[in-house]
Amino acid sequence: MKRSNRKIRLVAGLMAMSLAALSLTGCGGSGSSQETAEVPTVTIWSSGGQEVREALQAIADAHNADPNYNTKARVEIQFVVSGTSEQSLPDRLVAAYQADQTDTDFDLIALDDSAIADIVARTSEDFFDEIDTSKIPNYENLIFKDNVVGSNFIPYRGTSVFLAYDSEVVPEPPKTAEELYQWIKDNPGRFTYNDPSTGNAGFSFVANTIYNQLPEEAALSDDPKWRDEHQEEWDNAFALLAELHPYLYQTAGKVQYPMKNQGALDLLATKQVDMVPAFANMVLSQKNMGTLPDSIKMTQLEEAFLGGLAGFMMPSIGSDKEACLSVIDYYLSYEAQAIDWNTMFASPVVDASKMEGLEHEDWLNETDMSTLRYFSIGTLQTDIRERWTEEIGSLAR
């Protein structure tokens, strides 16, 4: 026993050492550019999946190496990876606001448009500074000038849910929501969507079922009247979801809603289902890595699934506003947008035909964002998840 104890200690020591080595190499990346005293540091705060971090960092490294930009600012990325029990980025911003901090390194934040309303609600209307777009030359490149947040939000990346399908099995995918529902019933067990409280791809399917029945402007409003005065439409939608329930993917003799966006994609990858709602960049990255077969294609329904934009905002508590504008300018350049595509297949917010050096350029057409359908429904999101869990999730037993 003594001998094996020593062995345990040895292995543990080795593991600790390798961890330390890893963290050291992790630091190496950002120190490459020259340190000039006058160049202000702009810290970009963001959160989300690891791929978002890698893309932001790749563009930041390119920025810090570009002689046209690295004299005006030096970019640093601070990232809160989702799913670690860390304090979330919105919470940190709110905490800084409530503590009356005025000189922080929250120079820029890069978040999804849907996350902004919550931060504004918990701070103040003027928590984010207006952005003078005339000082951002590349703002001209931007296609999505209108967005759900407002003029103080500069999008740099699109994110959208598409219908991913196996083109070997489904040569002609559905084009409308009605056709999709019919397809699900005609092909029992071959469609699934993930539990909506575990990922927005599945949530998008549920939200679409409700919002397809409501007037268009409902999707852009967090007014509870869209729930209270439209109970009938909501009831219809949930009745439809219950009707579809027995035709969804089954295992161990019952319907099972996969957990997380990736759970549904795993089923698609192993050909246990033929069609799932999925985020475009997840599908493309995994095709690129070879974990999803090439036969997986994407299409958008006439009633598009939810989409959104990730963009920059400038908290008033940050510093060096001029430098921030220069950094935003770089992220809107064609070079930066190409890096974003090549690193995480982020949908560009500029004219893609002007971007150079793209990998898998043909995939751009599949993920055309021109039909982008914004969703900004605030806390109604929670209502949808709750009601789904009670009425639909409980059917899976």
């Binding site: 094996s4 292995v11 295992t251 161990a252 957990m259 246990q272 409980s394 037993r397």
Partner: protein, 282 residues
């Protein structure tokens, strides 16, 4: 005695750092949780949070599901690990030595990696399915997203863990005890029940309670491998926070889970405190 300085505060000073940490990260949060569980969102006193779980069919179902899962995991893990530990202790073969080195390995593999590895084997399109397809058999195990999946993953973690505890216990069984029993004409069955078992049964109870209590609050494994319904208590708790954003109810459920675990703790402490007749007389 005169030369040695008496420092009555010394023990307290040595205990203080550990106690402070316990107070800040364990005791205070527990008190806070208990207080929260008896209040509404705006701070009024209420019993409704408890009433909800004690009368909800879903919560009852979760409780039953969790208890069955925990007991199955415990029983299977104990049987397998006891057999493994016996083999490692009494076999002198090369294979036993190799296993003796390998069985600790799972402790060093990150949990989430291991869960996905097990999932890749047992899922409907996993290794079992693909391997059988080579022989033209289409078999879907139906293990994943079911209680069976949770139990299998947990066995992966718990067998090495309890085998480690039991191996330590079995090293107390000296070869000479076994040999003299054999000389006196005992069969293996007698040796196991009369010599080995009395020496290790306390450690068996310790390992079993550890496994059982771990299952009550388990989250990652059932989240990834369990069914949508019924849910393990850990998932039900997560849902209260994540889907319903109801922190008070979550607090009430935490307290209830804490009470269940307390039952295990009582068994654990009692079995540890109990002194055997032969120990008392030595």
């Amino acid at each position: 005695m005169d030369k040695k300085k008496v420092r009555p505060w010394m023990p307290y000073l040595m205990v203080a750092p550990a106690f402070t940490v316990m107070l800040l990260v364990v005791i205070l949060p527990i008190l806070n949780t208990v207080a929260q569980s008896f209040s509404t969102a705006d701070g009024q006193f209420t019993l409704a949070n408890y009433q909800y779980f004690l009368t909800s069919y879903e919560a009852f179902e979760s409780l039953v599901f969790t208890v069955i899962e925990a007991l199955s995991t415990m029983l299977l893990a104990m049987v397998f690990s006891f057999l493994l530990a016996l083999y490692l202790r009494f076999s002198k073969s090369g294979i036993s030595r190799i296993i003796g080195r390998l069985y600790l390995l799972p402790r060093f593999i990150p949990g989430i990696v291991a869960v996905y590895a097990v999932m890749n084997i047992i899922k409907d399109a996993g290794f079992i399915n693909r391997f059988l397809q080579l022989f033209g058999i289409m078999y879907k195990p139906g293990l994943l997203y079911d209680m069976k999946g949770i139990v299998i993953c947990n066995l992966w973690f718990n067998i090495p863990f309890s085998a480690m505890l039991l191996s330590a216990a079995l090293s107390n069984v000296a070869d000479s005890y076994v040999e003299s029993a054999k000389d006196a004409g005992c069969g293996w069955g007698k040796i196991l029940t009369k010599i080995i078992w009395p020496l290790v049964y306390k450690d068996v109870i310790v390992a079993a309670t550890f496994i059982l209590m771990g299952q009550i609050g388990a989250f990652t494994i059932p989240y990834l491998t369990g069914p949508n319904n019924p849910k393990m208590l850990g998932i039900l708790l997560y849902q209260q926070v994540n889907t319903y954003l109801d922190y008070q109810r979550a607090a009430a459920l935490s307290v209830l889970m804490f009470i269940i675990c307390l039952g295990g703790a009582v068994v654990y402490i009692k079995s540890n405190m109990k002194e055997e007749a032969w120990q008392a007389g030595k």
